[in-house]
């Protein structure tokens, strides 16, 4: 690992904006916030993966991965971050290094050529170049190549130094965002600025979730100027320094950029979530309050309150008819971070029982909130081994599992409904409308008639006489001499 990268990683582990981080001792902090991985018992992405997750939603840049095929060949085209503009971000670009490239030390040259080709072919707003394990190991200086290419081709070429071996996804998030702070933010000026310009960081716009919230901002006249979120344009990242307020969508990984925007450009930031009714309202209120403090017209607050009142009433009205369909159902939540609590209160309001919520990736703040909402901490658990989870579901201690894709088959093989609440999902659940969608999804999942069929025994598992003849009709004609006997 190069000294510069080591240095960068060390600073990434110091996050003054993060309460957890600040509370750590110097030596603890050096270890980083991700736990050391256990060989033989580790699953999950690498730092490169994390950087990609953070930056790939930027739609009009070419994301070029400098690596042998495995890193991106296996990884591209698998996230549902939606774009309303360019589709470039969905293309998989890699230098696909061969053995020969590596032994001959041709990596840098090949990268330079690849950058030239991708610019000629796609005319991207910028090229993001990702280094990975192999290219870092052979010592390719992607910083130098990017610099030379940018000068030569007159287009921003941004190095993202994230070899997978340096750490987990979480660290990769940080390093990815760091590259933006270093190379992109502040490099373009907007045509106009308004007192209602905001930055939104960290919402991936999965299946269009950000668009479920954007109409609310539209109605308040708030403009998303800067964005490191789904549907972001390169220009929006470059112009972030001109926004009035930053909303960080519950993510510790992205905190560094919010903090740096505050330090360097005086833009206050807050953490909020668009999951669940009360969180959405709280996020809107905080955003408006901060905007007014920074000079937006004071009536914004009143308009915000009116909007919230109207939307909440409408949401509750839409949820009411769904209540009988989900009431009393037991949900097991296996997710991480803010999702551990952000939907819980809304579900509880509908009479849904949350039997447990996982505390993976959760902070002390998250824990407190869970305890607050649930009235006890009895429902929190850490990791659950698939075997245990299977057993728990099989014993029908929950009616539905809400989790990410990895636990999907634990639920399904236990013949228990499953709802995807992580990043690969296809349904948007954000904001007020998203809450209604989520409850509909629960209804659809737990009340699907398929489960009853699926759990019924096979014909050969029933004793001969309790097999029902429904739905077919046995109609031996009276008086027939059939030697057929019904049992």
């Amino acid at each position: 690992m190069s000294e510069a990268l080591k240095q960068k990683i060390q600073t990434a582990f110091v996050e003054p904006g993060c309460a957890t981080n600040v509370a750590k001792s110097e030596s603890e902090r050096k270890k980083g916030c991700a736990k050391q991985l256990t060989p033989g018992a580790a699953a999950g992405g690498c730092a490169f993966d994390g950087a990609m997750i953070a930056l790939q939603p930027i739609t009009d840049v070419a994301h070029l991965v400098h690596a042998p095929l495995a890193c991106w060949g296996n990884g591209w085209d698998n996230r549902g971050s939606a774009s309303s503009g360019s589709e470039l971000y969905r293309k998989g670009f890699t230098t696909d290094l061969s053995e020969l490239d590596i032994v001959m030390g041709n990596g840098e040259k090949k990268l330079f050529r690849a950058i030239r080709e991708v610019i000629a072919q796609e005319s991207p707003a910028a090229v993001f170049v990702y280094s990975t394990c192999v290219t870092a190991l052979i010592g390719d200086d992607i910083g130098a190549v990017c610099k030379a290419a940018a000068e030569r081709f007159g287009r921003p070429v941004i190095p993202v130094n994230v070899p997978g071996y340096v750490g987990s996804k979480n660290l990769g998030n940080k390093l990815g965002v760091d590259a933006l702070v270093e190379h992109v933010v502040g490099t373009m000026e907007p045509a106009t600025v308004t007192p209602l310009d905001v930055n939104i960081i960290g919402d991936f716009n999965l299946s269009g979730e950000l668009w479920q919230v954007k109409p609310l901002l539209d109605r308040l006249g708030i403009r998303i100027l800067g964005s490191i979120s789904g549907d972001a344009r390169y220009a929006q990242v470059a112009m972030m320094h001109r926004a009035r307020v930053t909303m960080l969508v519950c993510s510790h990984a992205f905190m560094a950029i919010a903090r740096k925007l505050e330090e360097r450009h005086g833009i206050p930031w807050f953490e909020g979530s668009f999951y669940g009714i009360s969180d959405t309202s709280a996020a809107l209120r905080t955003m408006c309050r901060l905007l007014v403090e920074r000079g937006a017209p004071a009536d914004l607050l009143d308009r915000c309150d009116a909007l919230i009142a109207e939307e909440e009433a409408r949401t509750r009205a839409e949820l009411a008819p769904l209540r009988p369909k989900v009431e009393g159902r037991r949900v097991l939540l296996y997710t991480g971070g803010h999702k551990t609590w952000s939907v819980v209160s809304a579900l509880q309001e509908l009479g849904v029982e949350v039997v447990g919520t996982s505390m993976r990736k959760a902070t002390d703040g998250d824990r407190e909130r869970v305890t607050d909402i649930m009235g006890t901490d009895a429902h929190m658990y850490e990791n659950m081994a698939p075997k245990e989870m299977y057993k728990m579901l099989r014993e029908a201690r929950a009616d539905v599992l809400m989790s990410g894709g990895r636990s999907q088959f634990v639920a399904l093989k236990a013949r228990v409904p499953w709802i995807d609440v992580n990043q690969e999902k296809h349904e948007p659940y954000a904001g007020y409308v998203g809450m209604v969608e989520l409850v509909r999804a629960i209804d659809r999942a737990v009340n699907n008639p398929m489960w009853a069929d699926l759990r019924s025994p096979a014909p050969w598992e029933m004793s001969a006489c309790d097999a029902t003849d429904e739905p077919f009709v046995l109609s031996a004609v009276p008086g027939s001499k059939a030697d057929f006997e019904d049992c």
């Binding site: 269009g208 069929d453 014909p459 029933m462 739905p471």
Partner: protein, 455 residues
Amino acid sequence: MARLIHPDRALSTNPLKVSAPLGAAMAYLGIEGAIPLFHGAQGCTAFAMVHMVRHFKEAIPLQTTAMNEVSAILGGGEQIEEAIENIRKRANPKFIGIASTALVETRGEDVAGELREMLRRRTDFADTSVVYAATPDFAGGLEDGWARAVEAIIDALAVPCTRRPGQVNLLPGSHMTSADVEEVAGLIRAFGLNPVILPDISLSLDGHLAEDWRGHSLGGTKLVDIATMGGSIATLAIGEAMRPAAEKLAALGVAAHVFPSLTGLKAVDAFVTTLMKLSGADVPATVRRDRARLSDAMLDAHFHIGGLKVAMGAEPDLGLALGSTLAAMGAELTVVTTTGSRAAERIPTAEVIVGDLGDLERAAEAGGCKLLLTHAHGRMMAERLHMPHVRAGFPIFDRLGAQDVCRTGYRGTRAFLYEIANAVLSHPHRPRPEDFGAARISPEFDHAPPPPSHH
């Protein structure tokens, strides 16, 4: 119980229904050495033949009595005699199945009586079995014509017979493809039972290449086997339309089991239960495994089928088979069918329209349907409403291999669920900001103009 809606209107737009004589002809083609003969004017025969040729991609030996102006007025008895004579000369079939059309039925001819009389006279016709079914175009559709033909065959050719252990009668409905029939026959055989299949299009309309050219059907139910059907231990009829035919065999002392459908886990379970009872045999390992694989397919497919709004246009038995399977997976159905049969009433939805594709198009649009399930004529509607279109029923003239599609049994159900889910997946909904009422991002930020809006 679905409420049947009969729209009160004079105009039928984009027919869903296929004529009853065509159904009869298709059933007759499932008999070995057969030539179906339409008793009517030439045109309806030509249409029916072209229709079947386009669907099966096979030469279809369909003949007509070619009623003309004179015989239309004076009666067509002689035309039939002449037709049989000529057909025998040209193709020497073992079996001629006659289906009447609206024309002769409107005249009110006693075709059956005349035919009986004529066959008594023409002893030289004795080595050809001739069967007649009344199938006026104005009553029922393909399903009914098919069923009437099977009833006519049983009436004419099945006789009381000594018990034949292990033999069962299988009466497949018109909604079953060659592959469907083959699947069910295989399932029955897996229990050590021996099915006599009437009609058996799995041997005649399955798209095989024969060693020579004959002007009649190649393959199908053997006439000698039909004669033994009265000795079977049970009749397994698939589809409500086949109930009367099963009851005719029951009158010969064969226990009748009518299965409304053989698609869907529970439906196949019921069938397997019956096979277990009839055979006393152990359930084969392959059947057990197929059921387990179907269960897993249900899990995988329910994400895409649960809550899916499906517009379905199908004859009652097909509609019940496919509709109940989808409903059991949580789909919501908007249904148009052809006739108000008992099966139509049992399709799991509140209302079933007895109508045409025009009705389906209106209902599908109003109901926000996301997938169309009907025969090939639905393609224009699917285009207009931007829906994926899964083809089922008759005719399917714009796809190859319609006869190879199996949606029956555990395996066929599994394939069907994948087919529906894949149709949904291959028609992905790409959300746009506008879908959620959000304004588009200011073009100021755009590096390149956004692509045109598309759904």
